[in-house]
Symmetry: C3
Subunit: 269 residues, 3 copies
């Protein structure tokens, strides 16, 4: 994690090639709505998904897998218990872990739990502007939920979080921002149809975990995630104009991504 | 809910336009098999899905969302607990809620629980003939499960239920019947391939919740649901003859529905 | 279960025709990632899926359904409780039941639980080489997990298991082996894209349960499962070269399978 140069499209190409060569095993403790789609997104990219839910096994498996995803979208008590045991095990085994704080802010149980998780220094936090600002408020950064959800405010909140965790934050929206303690990269790939298919944002957290397993830094993983998924979304939208066929095309496009496409169409500022 | 004229195709058009303008947020407490597909159906139609499962959060969220769906297809104890808290919260917030009594009748736990829910006056009940007759038996209407499941018997059972709840009942089958205390509308859109894809019936309950959030009456919502999904099914079947591609085409067809298609091909009697 | 001739392609044709004529109801206690896909695979084949999860209802339903699938992929305590009650009920009602020992071996909870289930003599065990060898080790057959996972070793382990349970074992891989106490059949249908879609292996267990409900012997059911799914995979791969569209094409291909395709392209040794 010693890279200090800003990640560029060559970084993204290198990460995709490593994912396809090493097939990182991603332990997904994620929400019930998106488990199948998340697994298919990881498989299409070249990673290997595994969902191990029992708390005893989740702890054991976090030390076997290459990365851990914690998504609080449909949190229930057994899943909270599994996450409480998996995160320390992943940390002990020096595996990266990604926190996806779905709907943190307005909903009470997940918001309290996210505050607890934040202390465990997620390698990457992946959320939209509202979620990132809510999390930063929990972190004592002085910001609570802002329903206006300005990108600028989310960028400052993301910086606060990155400084606290020592990791990186990916703020997703029309433009995605990958931010760590000292650097910021804007990525402008993507397509509006990605918001018409359930689980695209959640799958982005899973891709981030796969990338973090092979990247030189958390920031590199965030940039690669935003470019790879955004680019696949653009290519899928060129092949399919409506949400059912778009979801299918998105998986095909992830499988078809290559260095040429990344270098020609990746948009990093 | 003061409309007393029978809903017609203009009612359906108006409801679709409102769903697309307002994006009603539908809280789905639904079965584990169909969560992803249900969310994608709502997104394709123009509504916004959310599955919040923890009992504490489900109660909180029921007052935030625009409508609630309760589907007992894969009931377990935590979900029963979440439903017990979400339904009163939705009622207190004057949000419509839809009961989908999957397999009520032969299976004991859900049948007892459905009797408990029925007292809470669902805005809409969406079921097949057997389920509606079983529910009516629970309601003291004098009918138990009838494996023959005659449409005529289900229509009488639906009327009994509607009179008890003050809401409406959508009995689905080759012909769908939307029934409230005083009115009955038959809808004959649909296609047999809809029975070859898991979750189409369950997604119908979710559509009904989205429509109930914007409709002038529960009966209007039921009629719109049957026309919109049935018509999308017909169009999907024209594009795809086998179940895998049909499921994809069904989502595309929901997205493509418009006033012209409804006025030209909606079949209300 | 008195058939002693080796199953051939006529056996497979007969089983497919029975599935389509009788629509066997398959009770799936399966993992959370693949429930929707599993249900769609069964529907595409012609069978009827049902996922009944509450322990009280799972026990009741196991006596109603035509076959039971127990897949330990995302085991949690409520599902363990449901399986503990469903398996004896299926046995008491003389229904076939299939054990899919996903990731048994390295993970502790499911490995202990699989040992407990094994005593209840599954009609069919469906697993990859590592899983079958791990299970055979639990059975006291003298073999533990072998990460090398040689096919030959798995065949011996499968024979040990079949002799212990009195049922059959389907070892899946590039070549699938259907094995009972005295016979062995190799099936070489299939395509590598089947490993790029989540749930194809798990759905194979569900197909096996559907076939077991109508087959003359557990071995016949295993051979039919491997031919039917493998052949559908080949045909899907001819229509779709990437994983998203392949998954859709696989469902369409299951629906399109017929006697001519089986006789022309089934590969049994």
């Amino acid at each position: 994690m010693g890279s200090s140069a800003a990640p560029d499209l060559s970084t993204v190409v290198a990460i995709l090639e490593r994912v396809r060569a090493r097939h990182p095993l991603v332990h997904c403790l994620t929400n019930h709505v998106v488990k199948g789609f998340t697994a298919n997104v990881l498989l299409a990219l070249g990673a290997a998904p595994a969902m191990v839910e029992h708390a005893d096994e989740a702890e054991q498996f976090a030390g076997i897998a290459d990365a851990l995803l914690v998504n609080v979208g449909t949190l229930d008590e057994p899943q909270i218990a599994a996450m409480r045991r998996a995160v320390p095990a992943a940390r002990a085994a020096k595996r990266p872990w990604v926190l996806d704080p779905v709907a943190v802010g307005p909903l009470a149980v997940r918001t309290r739990f996210a505050a607890e998780l934040l202390v465990l220094s997620p390698t990457v936090i992946r959320g939209n502007a509202s979620e990132v600002m809510a999390l930063a408020g929990l972190a004592g950064g002085g910001r609570g939920v802002d329903s206006g959800a300005e990108s600028t405010a989310a960028r400052a909140a993301a910086r606060t979080l990155a400084q606290q965790t020592g990791g990186a934050v990916l703020v997703t929206g029309q433009v995605d921002y990958a931010i760590d303690a000292t650097r910021e990269v804007a990525i402008s790939n993507g397509h509006p149809l990605m918001t018409r298919v359930t689980g695209v944002g959640c799958a982005m957290g899973a891709i981030n975990a796969a990338c973090a397993a092979v990247a030189d830094s958390p920031l590199d993983a965030c940039v690669a995630t935003a470019v790879l998924l955004g680019l696949a979304g653009e290519r899928a939208a060129a092949a399919a104009a409506r949400p059912g066929s778009f979801a299918v095309a998105l998986l095909d496009a992830l499988d078809a991504l290559d260095a040429d496409a990344i270098r020609a169409h990746g948009r990093i500022a």
